[in-house]
């Protein structure tokens, strides 16, 4: 059984692009499809770019990983074509069982939201979207109460607008 760590004892601090030095086979988030993606496909996936959370830049132990993919959506109708928005899709977000219940998943989600919001300054990105792996994953994302809404782009996704993300760090003070 995995030993769970307290939030304060987790030293995860650095996010780097996944590369061959990372020990992908030892990673276990408890979801075989996510483990399989990391081991067999993440390094060369057309789905997007994969980043790993490690304790320091030289560490090979993967504490968590995430896969992001750019996307473009448009609303079209019979008369015109209107480009609606760029989307960053969070394809995967997985935390190793050893670090379960330490808050790393939530903190990583906040990190991703901030990075995507920053990227929106130099791009047409207007949405962050997530396609949860299963119902349990969907309950996790919805249960944060961060404001994700169900949309179809074209598959069923949970999404939040960049404008809403930007508001999360805004002070209530006038």
């Amino acid at each position: 059984m995995a030993e769970h760590l307290n939030r304060s004892k987790v030293t995860a601090s650095t996010i780097v692009p996944l590369n061959k030095i990372h020990d992908r086979k030892s990673f276990d988030c408890g979801k075989p499809p996510l483990n399989d993606f990391l081991v067999n496909r993440a390094l060369n996936s057309p789905l997007g770019s994969t980043y790993v959370l490690v304790s320091d830049p030289e560490s090979s132990e993967i504490i968590a990983y995430l896969t992001l993919a750019p996307d473009i959506i448009s609303i079209l109708n019979n008369q015109s074509t209107k480009s609606l928005a760029g989307v960053i899709k969070l394809e995967y977000l997985a935390v190793d069982l050893k670090y379960k219940s330490t808050g790393i998943g939530t903190d990583l989600l906040i990190f991703i939201m901030r990075e995507v919001a920053a990227y929106s300054n130099i791009s047409s990105v207007r949405l962050l979207a997530i396609e949860p792996l299963d119902k349990e994953a969907e309950r996790w994302f919805v249960g944060r109460n961060f404001g994700f809404e169900v949309v179809y782009i074209p598959d069923r996704c949970l999404a939040i607008s960049i404008d809403t993300i930007l508001n999360m760090d805004m002070s209530d003070e006038p």
Partner: protein
């Protein structure tokens, strides 16, 4: 909610809504969605909403990760 994926062709008020979906691998697909689904997407993109208290609280206490693009 309608589950119909196409609109009646004789309705000028309800033009067919499509979502064009371009994936990063270079291929693309166009998928019909209902007007309701298209409207919810437009609303999400265009209507800025306040951050929820839970989002604000999580943002305030979140660890600061360092991104190293090597």
């Amino acid at each position: 909610m309608s589950t119909t994926k196409t609109r009646p062709s004789n309705s000028s008020q309800t033009s067919t809504n499509l979502v064009a979906h371009a994936v990063s691998g270079g291929t693309s697909q166009k998928v019909r969605v209902t007007d309701e689904q298209a409207a919810s997407l437009c609303n999400l993109v265009n209507a800025a909403k306040p951050a929820t208290p839970e989002l604000r609280a999580a943002a305030a206490r979140a660890r600061q990760f360092k991104f190293v693009a090597r």
